[in-house]
Amino acid sequence: MERCFPFQTSVTVYKAYTRVESDANTIARALTAQTAETDAIRFLVGTQSLKFDNQITNEPKRLSSENRVLTCAAVWRMPPEWESGSHESPDDSSNNPQTLELLCHLDNTAHGSVACVLWEPLGDGKRVISLAENHVLLWDLQESSTKATISSTATLEGKGQLKFTAGKWSPHHNSTQLVTANDTAIRGWDLRSMSQIYCIENAHGQLVRDLDFNPNKQYYLASCGDDCKVKFWDVRHINEPVKCLEEHSHWVWSVRYNHSHDQLLLTGSSDSRVILSNMVSISSEPFGHLVDDDDLSDNEENQQEDKGKEPLQDSIIATYEEHEDSVYAVEWSAADPWLFASLSYDGRLVINRVPRALKYRILL
């Protein structure tokens, strides 16, 4: 079932070209890292097809817990043997994809098609948010996730047909904040009151495609959209973006912060390129590694140390052009902070490493 293109393995960069295919040409659009897994490098790929059952294909090393279908959403359990962590023979097992166990459907027929589903970033995984048309639905999973009930909803009111295009659950503030995008606007929501807390009108010239929170700086947010730009926002000052990148030559579909080194930013675009940027100036480590903003004396010492080496500038680290078609999703590995995957329309999954030179520069 799975077709592997030749592996390219070297000491410095581990690259894998993987094609996700099922019976027919499989079109893949969704990609996520298995966040609960810390030992193995696992990516979940969601396919988009109509005639066949959509698969959640496990990567060079497997699996999924989230599916994206146009009209419905469901919660799945991963096969238990993977959860137990027996992954010593990945190639063989991937020829035998275990089916996922369907736990429950998120029954949302009343609210229209689902744009995206978000797990609670922290906590015990009992809460899920789905964005459907112009509704925000907060689900509670009960009884070992076999049943989901809507605990609260919010609706975006306005002129015309408002549709959410993307959303992100903030990992900060005790998971009480959600940010959503519809058309050119970005909105923040407070989940306790299910009310809007801020709104960046005209955040992008055209449609906003994706959002991501800086994992280390709670007010910082990255967004991307059809105007080929990636913008960084401080949600306390929403009039102007903190910074704006314009490197892609078509719509930017996906933007992701590295989970531990937030200066590393990954973007995927329908110009078939993946760009890895190094945004030092607005990261939590603007002066290099190990600088603690709270400790001034440390800060000074480090600054003195830094004088020896060239401070890192905001820059494009690399542009990856392995894809032949539009790249719709990019994702960092949950287990290895230096590894990331990108997925294009034709089903090709490319896994790359951050260049070693940069890695050492960040670490040392």
Binding site: E21, D227, E324
Partner: protein, 826 residues
């Protein structure tokens, strides 16, 4: 015969002299009698009988040798004849000389007798003179006593007269006071003053002195009063001051008084000016008052101010020229007058005696400088306020003339007062005004540019609205009506700007005209031309055009294109024209007009051109983006709003595709008006619609094959992958070149890519797919001709159909022939 000749010679010369001495004497005699010396030329010939070197032997030999006997005979007789005549001449000469000698001897003898008689008479005369001297001494001795007496008497007389003068002095002074003959009084008092001072210990003299003092005090009082009144003429005034100085009045005090007096008058002038400044709309009554307070102080002012004040000022305030005129005529000329008279009085006045020692000129000069500086500062502040009010940029000549006059009049002060800082301050003001002016012109140009852009915008919008309302569906027709004016708009816009710039340059050029006094100041020669006009005005304006053009790209980009695309296109072409020719033209013009000598580094033409080109590129890119976005939005809406699963079998090309083609055509026309055709790939020109259709259909059939035969799924993906491997990556929002084809290619790329991405997000039924097929074929039929490389269109459309097939629940494509029929029908 030889002897005879010798006799003739000796008769004229002393017998003892040798031949050379003889010749000397001969020549001297010759000189004496005025004979010339031409004989000397032949004198060396020994055969010349008259020459001094005559040798008888040689002569005879010669004759004997050369002549026949007859000739000799003739010659002899001739010679004898000559000798005889010479002998007779000689005799007469001797007789004459002898007679003269005898008469001379007689005369001498007579003279001896006469001198003896004269000696006796002289002795007699000397005796007489001695007697006269003796008598004279006797007389003077007798008169001595009487003479001494007379001298004494005359001395007493003078003293008495002086005393009488002293006693009469008070009365005389009083009389003078009554008659106001101050000068006489002062001179009289001055004469008596020393004496009175000397003899003041005597009571009578003291009385006189006291009286005099009182009177003089009174007189000084009167003089001061007169001085203070100031109504008196300059001559009176100067006399007054002179007298006061002679009366030991302290000069400093006088200076102060004089200056304060002058100040009050000048202040009145300034107040008049200020009043005019403050209520420039109301008739300045202050002017009239000023005129009354100092009538006749300046012969020019009444005439000019009478023309300015009552008749002209009630209109919208006085213009700057009038204001400056008035300032010059009233204030400056009065100031000059004051300075001149002051200098006449205190500085240049010939000082006598003790006055000279008081160093009055230095002190007075210092005071004058302070005085002039303070007043001038006030005047300058007024003038500057007035200049600042001069905001209108219509007629620069007025301002320049006013400044010129202002500057020219200040030169008078500099002549009068060489060390004064006033003229340089005035120049400063002029320079500031010029700088300010340049800034105003720049902003005026900028507003003009904005206005003309607004006009263009309206011109672009107006026909579209009117015609668009009339013909509702005909998008192509409306734009056709609107677009023909594009090139005209462009030329008129660029002409407007150029003309405006030229007129501004001409206005600014007035500052450097030859007849303007300040034009030869170093600032106006150098910095004004290069930094002010070239950099501050021309370069800044060009930069402003580029800047504002770029702003159109940036601000409009986020708001979704509030700028009409045609304007973007127009501006892009404008910037490109600037890059190619206009900038260098303008700068050359400026350099020529102002003879700019670049002492400081200036912006080179190339940098400006690069900037203009960049702006043009940006505008054109933005134009492509905006137009692409408009078509994209149409396509996106059409894909997103339709239910593709439950659609009916396609019978027509969807209206939106026709609209897309129409819009593309109209864009093509629009761009074609301003930009050249550009280069296409060679094969496109002869690729007809027919071959194109066959080509695309064959490819499509290959691509759809796997749908019919599910047994070979790998082939499809392999094929598509191989195809992708060999096709170049397409940059969607890539910069375009300055030609029509490139622009259209960019727009079509953006539109089709959007179409593709939207299709991938939808689910299609069988007929949905077929509809997409029909639409794509229709687009293929019409869009290939616009782009540089038709393969691009093929590729993107193939991708669209392919993606739709992937997303199709029942992928059974339509027959190619049917598609063609539908497309040709619609």
């Amino acid at each position: 015969r030889r002897n005879e000749i010798n006799v003739t010679k000796y008769s004229t010369t002393p017998p003892d002299s040798d031949p050379t001495g003889r010749r000397q004497v001969h020549s001297m005699l010759k000189l004496y009698y005025g004979m010339n010396e031409e004989g000397k030329v032949e004198s060396l010939d020994p055969c010349d009988i008259n020459g001094p070197h005559f040798d008888p032997e040689v002569y005879l030999n010669k004759l004997r040798k050369e002549c026949s006997l007859g000739e000799l005979m003739d010659h002899e007789s001739c010679t004898v004849k000559q000798i005889r005549s010479l002998d007779s001449d000689m005799q007469t000469l001797v007789y004459e000389n002898y007679n003269k000698f005898i008469s001379a001897t007689d005369t001498i003898r007579k003279m001896k007798n006469d001198f003896k008689k004269m000696e006796d008479e002289m002795d007699c005369l000397s005796a007489n003179m001695a007697a006269i001297t003796e008598f004279s001494a006797h007389i003077s001795g007798t008169l001595q006593d009487q003479h001494a007496q007379i001298t004494k008497l005359s001395g007493v007389h003078t003293l008495l007269r002086k005393l009488q003068f002293l006693f009469e002095l008070p009365a005389r002074l009083n009389k003078c006071l009554e008659l106001q003959a101050y000068a006489q009084a002062v001179s009289a008092h001055r004469r008596a003053r020393c004496v009175l001072q000397q003899y003041s210990h005597m009571p009578s003299f003291r009385g006189i002195q006291d009286d005099c003092h009182v009177i003089m005090e009174q007189l000084a009082q009167q003089l001061r009063q007169k001085f203070r009144d100031g109504g008196s003429s300059a001559k009176d005034l100067s006399e007054c001051v002179e007298l006061l100085l002679q009366l030991d009045e302290p000069a400093e005090e006088l200076c102060d008084k004089f200056l304060s007096h002058a100040q009050s008058r000048l202040e009145a002038d300034l107040q008049g000016l200020e009043a005019e400044l403050i209520d420039s709309l109301v008739t300045d009554t202050g002017g009239g008052l000023v005129q009354k307070t100092n009538p006749g102080s300046n012969p020019v002012s009444p005439s000019s101010s009478s023309t300015t004040n009552p008749f002209l000022s009630p209109t919208a305030g006085t213009d700057i020229l009038e204001f400056i005129d008035r300032g010059c005529n009233e204030f400056v000329s009065n100031l000059c007058l004051v300075i001149a008279s002051y200098q006449e009085l205190f500085i240049n006045h010939p000082q006598e005696g003790e006055l000279a020692s008081k160093k009055i000129p230095e002190m007075a000069n210092g005071k004058l400088h302070v005085f002039v500086d303070t007043l001038a500062a006030r005047y300058f502040s007024l003038v500057e306020r007035r200049i600042q009010e001069e905001k209108g940029v219509g007629d620069n000549s007025l301002l320049v003339r006013a400044l010129d006059r202002f500057h020219r009049r200040l030169q008078a002060i500099s002549k009068l007062l060489p060390g004064s800082a006033v003229p340089s301050q005035g120049t400063e003001i002029v320079v500031r005004a010029a700088r300010e002016r340049i800034k105003q012109y720049l902003s005026a140009l900028q507003t003009f540019y904005h206005d003309s852009l607004t006009d263009v915008r309206q011109a672009l919008a107006a026909p579209r609205l009117s015609v668009g309302g009339a013909s509702a569906s005909g998008g192509g027709a409306t734009s056709k009506d609107a677009t023909p004016s594009l090139p005209e708009l462009l030329t008129s816009l660029s002409n407007f700007i150029l003309n405006q710039l030229k007129s501004v340059l001409a206005s600014v050029h007035l500052f450097t005209a030859k007849d303007i006094t300040f034009s030869n100041k170093p600032y106006f020669k150098g910095e004004f031309c290069s930094q002010g006009v070239r950099e501050g005005l021309v370069v800044s304006f060009i930069k402003f055009i580029c800047q504002s053009s770029r702003q159109y790209c940036e601000s409009a980009g986020d708001r979704g294109g509030s700028t009409p695309p045609a304007l973007l296109l127009l501006l892009s072409r404008l910037c490109l024209d600037y890059e190619t020719s206009t900038i260098s033209y303008i700068l050359t013009l400026t350099d020529e007009q102002f003879l700019v000598q670049h002492h400081t580094p200036v912006t080179p033409v190339t940098a400006l051109c690069a900037e203009a080109r960049e702006a043009a590129q940006k505008l054109l890119n933005h134009y492509v983006k905006v137009q692409g976005l408009i078509i994209s939005q149409m396509l996106r809406k059409s894909v997103e709003t339709r239910d593709w699963v439950n659609t009916i079998e396609p019978r027509n090309v969807r209206a939106v595709m026709k609209r897309v083609v129409e819009d593309t055509t109209s864009i093509d026309v629009q761009v074609g008006l301003l930009y050249e055709e550009g280069v296409r790939k060679a094969h496109s020109s002869d690729s007809s619609k027919r071959t194109f259709s066959v080509y695309s259909s064959s490819r499509q059939q290959i691509r759809y094959a796997p749908s019919y035969t599910p047994s070979a799924p790998m082939d499809t993906s392999l094929l598509s992958n191989i195809h992708k491997l060999f096709s170049e990556r397409i940059d969607i929002f890539s910069p375009v070149e300055f030609n029509k084809v490139s622009v259209l290619t960019g727009i079509i790329k953006i539109s089709l890519k959007t179409f593709l991405e939207c299709v991938r997000l939808r689910t299609f039924g069988r007929y949905g797919l077929q509809q997409i097929q029909v639409d794509c074929h229709y687009l293929q039929m019409y869009l290939w001709r616009f782009v540089s490389d038709e393969n691009l269109v093929h590729f993107l459309l193939d991708e669209i159909v392919g993606s739709a097939a992937h997303r199709c629940l029942d992928p059974s494509p339509m027959e190619q022939s049917v598609i063609e029929v539908i497309c040709e029908r619609g």
